[in-house]
């Protein structure tokens, strides 16, 4: 058993304001090295809050969060974060987007280009390298954001409902694309979603959160072999697990 890379112990968080909102209440969670964990819960249960705490944007009001054993500091590339909102930089080309984190790391142009090429091939958008995001579909844009984060080679990926705004068909395609990328790079992933099927299809383990204030309600190990395919979605094991998850939520 390896030590957890990402760890939250008894974490609480309250949004200040005229009506303070308690988003998280005594939540504990562990993510192990190279593990793909899906955080599943209804809208407003504090999933995004937890992810932003892990990313370094919020400090928990109580409890501790650790990354690789040390406290989490300011946001940085070590914990790659894909926002729920659209955050592709529309004034940069697809290549400039993908290479932005490398620029921030101080890599020179040839080195950026090599990694950029690799990422663009990985998401199948090499032909669009010089295009502005306005020419991309919503699904493609999101994959560029994912590739932009992968490019900096973070040890951990925090993905906040990356495919939440897509239609069901596109979402399935994007899930396959993400699964393909993940199979090759095997990063530690914490993936937030409100879609049980998406969680099942992608994750090794699913953590179900309760409605606000969020705390861990149940956990499921997804022992479905990889690579998963369309067949997986209709297999008996998949459907049984899906039913069990539905019954808890």
């Amino acid at each position: 058993m390896t030590a957890p890379v990402l760890e939250a112990v008894d974490v609480s968080y309250t949004y200040p304001g005229p009506t303070p909102t308690k988003a998280l209440d005594g939540l504990s969670l562990e993510v192990k090295d190279h593990e793909f964990v899906a955080l599943l819960g209804p809208v407003g249960c504090g999933k995004t809050t937890l992810l932003r705490i892990f990313a370094g944007f919020f400090q928990p009001a109580a409890g501790t969060v650790r990354c690789g054993g040390s406290p989490i500091g300011a946001p940085g590339w070590q914990r790659g974060y894909v926002l729920q909102e659209e955050a592709i930089f529309p004034w940069m080309t697809v290549r400039e987007n993908v290479e932005f984190g490398l620029l921030a790391k101080g890599l020179d142009a040839p080195a950026r280009r090599t990694i950029g090429d690799e990422m663009l091939t990985l998401i199948g958008l090499s032909a669009f390298e010089a295009a502005y995001p306005k020419e991309l579909s919503a699904g493609m844009s999101k994959m560029v954001e994912v590739a932009r984060v992968f490019a900096t080679d973070p040890s951990i990926l925090l993905l906040d409902e990356p495919f939440g705004a897509l239609d069901a068909q596109t979402r399935t395609r994007m899930q396959d694309a993400l699964a393909g990328v993940w199979d090759r790079l095997r990063k530690t992933v914490l993936f937030v979603t409100h879609d049980a099927e998406e969680a099942l299809y992608l994750a090794d383990r699913i953590v179900v959160l309760s409605p606000r204030p969020g705390r861990v309600k149940a956990e499921f190990a997804v022992d479905i072999p990889r690579p998963r395919s369309m067949e997986t979605r209709f297999s008996a094991g998949f459907l049984t697990l899906k039913r069990r998850i539905w019954e808890t939520t």
Partner: protein
């Protein structure tokens, strides 16, 4: 599409010229040519000069080089004033938009200038710097700086949180964020404010030149044509001013189009 639009604009302009020509012909001999100037009568005034009279006046203004020299003199003042004012305004606006501490320190100064119409400073600037280039350029720069400052400030403040968060979690430091996120996103707002500033700069220069009895100068040419009054000269000076504002505006519009190529366009 732009071609069609250009053609339509041309048609509209030609129609305006034609209507004016017809009105002038109808008015010839019918309009009074003797007008009361408040203390005396002036004879032989053409209230609505015909094309012939305009052509004659135009030839005189061109051959004497009065018009060309006035255009150069006034444009130069506007250009220097706009460059100086926008440089100062943009730098200050980026500063107040980006750094809260700087905003709090600069705000009282900005407010002071913002609520003083730049033109009202004319007598003061003339007293300080005399008639001549300095007072005119500084007057334009003052007005332009305030507008450019507000544009740059709004531009920086309008940068969506999501981009800043994404950049921060990609490991970008403050300087990179400013250069590659904030600046390109603020640029459209800055250029939009410059268009307003340029129109203001031309208003300013005309007023500043009206009271400075020295040629070459488009504003003083206008003042002279009003003193006789000499309407053909007045109309030519006005049309020249309008054309110059249009040219300046078009230059910024081109920059704006370049800076917003990446934006989604609604069908035009």
């Amino acid at each position: 599409m732009p071609k069609v639009r250009l053609r339509r604009a041309l048609v509209a302009l030609l129609a305006l010229i034609a209507i004016y020509g017809i009105a002038a012909e109808i008015g010839r001999g019918r309009l009074p040519d003797r007008i009361w100037m408040g203390s005396h009568y002036v004879e032989n005034v053409q209230l609505l000069p015909t094309f012939g009279a305009l052509a004659e006046e135009g030839t005189f203004l061109l051959e004497s080089r009065i018009l060309a020299e006035s255009i150069v003199a006034s444009s130069r003042r506007v250009l220097i004033g706009v460059l100086l004012g926008s440089l100062i305004g943009i730098l200050l606006g980026l500063g107040t938009g980006w750094a809260m501490r700087f905003e709090h320190l600069a705000d009282p100064w900005v407010t002071l200038f913002r609520f003083t119409p730049a033109l009202a400073l004319l007598p003061l600037y003339v007293a300080w710097f005399g008639y001549g280039e300095t007072s005119k350029v500084l007057l334009i720069a003052t007005g332009v700086a305030v507008v450019a400052l507000l544009g740059a400030h709004q531009g920086v403040r309008g940068v969506p949180r999501a981009y800043l968060d994404a950049a921060a979690s990609l490991g970008a430091g403050k300087r990179l964020v400013f250069r590659r996120i904030v600046l390109p996103l603020a640029l459209p707002a800055i250029l939009a404010s410059l268009r307003i500033a340029i129109a203001l700069a031309w208003v300013t220069i005309v007023v500043a030149e009206l009271i400075d009895a020295k040629m070459p100068s488009l504003g003083y040419l206008l003042a002279l044509s009003g003193a006789y009054p000499r309407v053909p000269q007045m109309l030519i000076a006005l049309a020249t001013l309008a054309a110059l504002v249009l040219v300046f505006d078009f230059a910024v519009l081109l920059l704006h189009a370049r800076a917003t190529r990446w934006m989604k366009r609604t069908a035009s």
